[in-house]
């Protein structure tokens, strides 16, 4: 588990001006919105003042799918205390087409019982996503946490357990 502090909030707001207009779908318990990585960073920045946990996943990534029930369960308290969980589906990093990305992510999120916002990232190359996020993202899943000031405080690479998610969430609240 790597940990670092990067001032990103100001940069994120600047980036937001460049992002594409998102397409949103409302479902029963969560929303699904397609946007590029810059748009995702804008969403993170928009929650400044609250701790934010960002989970990067994809429907074609078995460990990503496997950890989501634990993510949901482990962050209930965190969310109840004002923390924010954002889910970012990196469908097009794999071989999912732009057309199929939102339906696939929506169906899987619904099946898993996701109850927080889902963003479907329209960027399809890891190096683009890395450059925008300012984080050395390797494989999926990844969980990034940002403190109330918008600083990245933790990067968890790979699948996490419920207990690990609880620890990660607590780290963002400090």
């Amino acid at each position: 588990m790597a940990s670092s502090r990067l001032p990103v909030a100001a940069a994120l707001l600047a980036l937001a001006a460049c992002s594409n207009e998102p397409t949103a779908i409302a479902t029963g318990s969560f929303s699904v919105t397609a946007m590029d990585a810059r748009g995702v960073m804008h969403q993170i920045a928009a929650h400044r003042g609250k701790p934010v946990l960002v989970n990067l996943w994809a429907t074609w990534c078995p460990p990503c799918v496997a950890e989501i029930p634990d993510l949901i369960a482990a962050t209930k308290g965190f969310r109840a205390r004002g923390g924010v969980v954002l889910s970012v589906a990196m469908e097009q990093l794999g071989d999912v087409s732009a057309e199929d990305a939102v339906p696939k992510a929506t169906a899987k999120a619904k099946e898993l019982g996701v109850d927080f916002p889902v963003f479907v990232c329209t960027d399809d190359e890891m190096k683009t996503i890395r450059a925008v996020f300012g984080v050395e993202i390797g494989g999926l899943p990844q969980t990034l946490t940002y403190d109330r000031a918008g600083n990245l405080v933790q990067q968890n690479e790979g699948m996490a357990t419920r207990e690990q998610f609880e620890t990660i969430a607590k780290g963002a609240e400090r």
Binding site: V65, A66, L93, D124, M126, E157
Partner: protein, 245 residues
């Protein structure tokens, strides 16, 4: 040279696989040896590997590293299901084709529990295990020699995180590169991409010195076998099966 590499490129996987292959109970290791096996040394840039000397091929046969290694060796952590690996398959096969004749050996290792299972499968008669890997290579016409890594022991020694994740051992058996095949995942920038693997192999085959370096890997996380916490019933398998894997 080969002797140097043989002692260096070796894995802790060997002993239990040999034992299971023959259907015999493995000899119980001495306590000290067992403790040692539980904490294999992690491979660092500039280092050689230490340990046993066997890999399991997709026919289920243990192979001695003596017979596998070349003057220069490329190890790639592989997946038959990862779309990011698939994006690099053709380029990786081309690099392999270009360098195999120059003494470079390519070994592809599948450590994904969701693809190979947690333990070597039992096969009867002339049946061969790992049909999924064999079928995949045939369908895509890939010349990859794939080995399997049950329990991700090799992946753990290498600290391999994704598929693909490439490692290059130079003529002295030391690890000189780990990371990407190139920096062009989607194959859109052939004229301007950083061809890390090809460039390293080009230098090594010409006898040029390569200072050990790494690039950040990109790919699907290796689906490791996880020891389930007491009382818990979860792990990679759950998601894999749900996802049709």
């Amino acid at each position: 040279m080969k002797a140097l590499l043989t002692t260096s490129l070796s894995f802790c996987l060997a002993a239990p696989l040999f034992a299971q292959e023959g259907g015999k109970e493995p000899a119980k290791p001495a306590p000290a040896a067992a403790e040692k096996a539980e904490a294999p040394k992690k491979l660092q840039l500039g280092q050689r590997l230490n340990g046993e000397t066997t890999l399991l091929d997709i026919d289920g046969k243990p192979q001695n590293a003596h017979d596998l290694l070349g003057t220069i060796t490329v190890v790639n952590f592989y997946s038959i299901k990862c779309p990011i690996q698939a994006a690099w398959d053709t380029r990786l096969a081309l690099i392999q084709k270009d360098f195999e004749g120059q003494g470079v050996v390519f070994l592809h290792i599948d450590s994904n529990a969701t693809e190979i299972g947690e333990a070597p499968p039992k096969v009867e008669g002339d049946a061969k295990p790992y049909a999924n890997i064999r079928d995949h290579l045939k369908a895509k016409d890939l010349p990859f020699r794939v080995f399997v890594d049950h329990g991700n022991k090799i992946a753990d020694v290498f600290e391999a995180k994704t598929t693909p994740h490439v490692y290059v051992f130079g003529k002295d058996g030391r690890l000189v590169y780990k990371g990407l095949v190139d920096d062009d995942q989607k194959d859109r920038n052939a004229d301007n991409r950083q061809n890390h693997l090809r460039d390293v192999l080009g230098k090594l085959t010409k006898g040029e010195k390569v200072e050990p370096f790494a690039t950040k890997e990109e790919g699907c996380s290796i689906k490791r076998t996880k020891a389930a916490p007491a009382g818990a019933d979860k792990g990679d398998e759950r998601g894999g099966k749900k996802d049709g894997e």
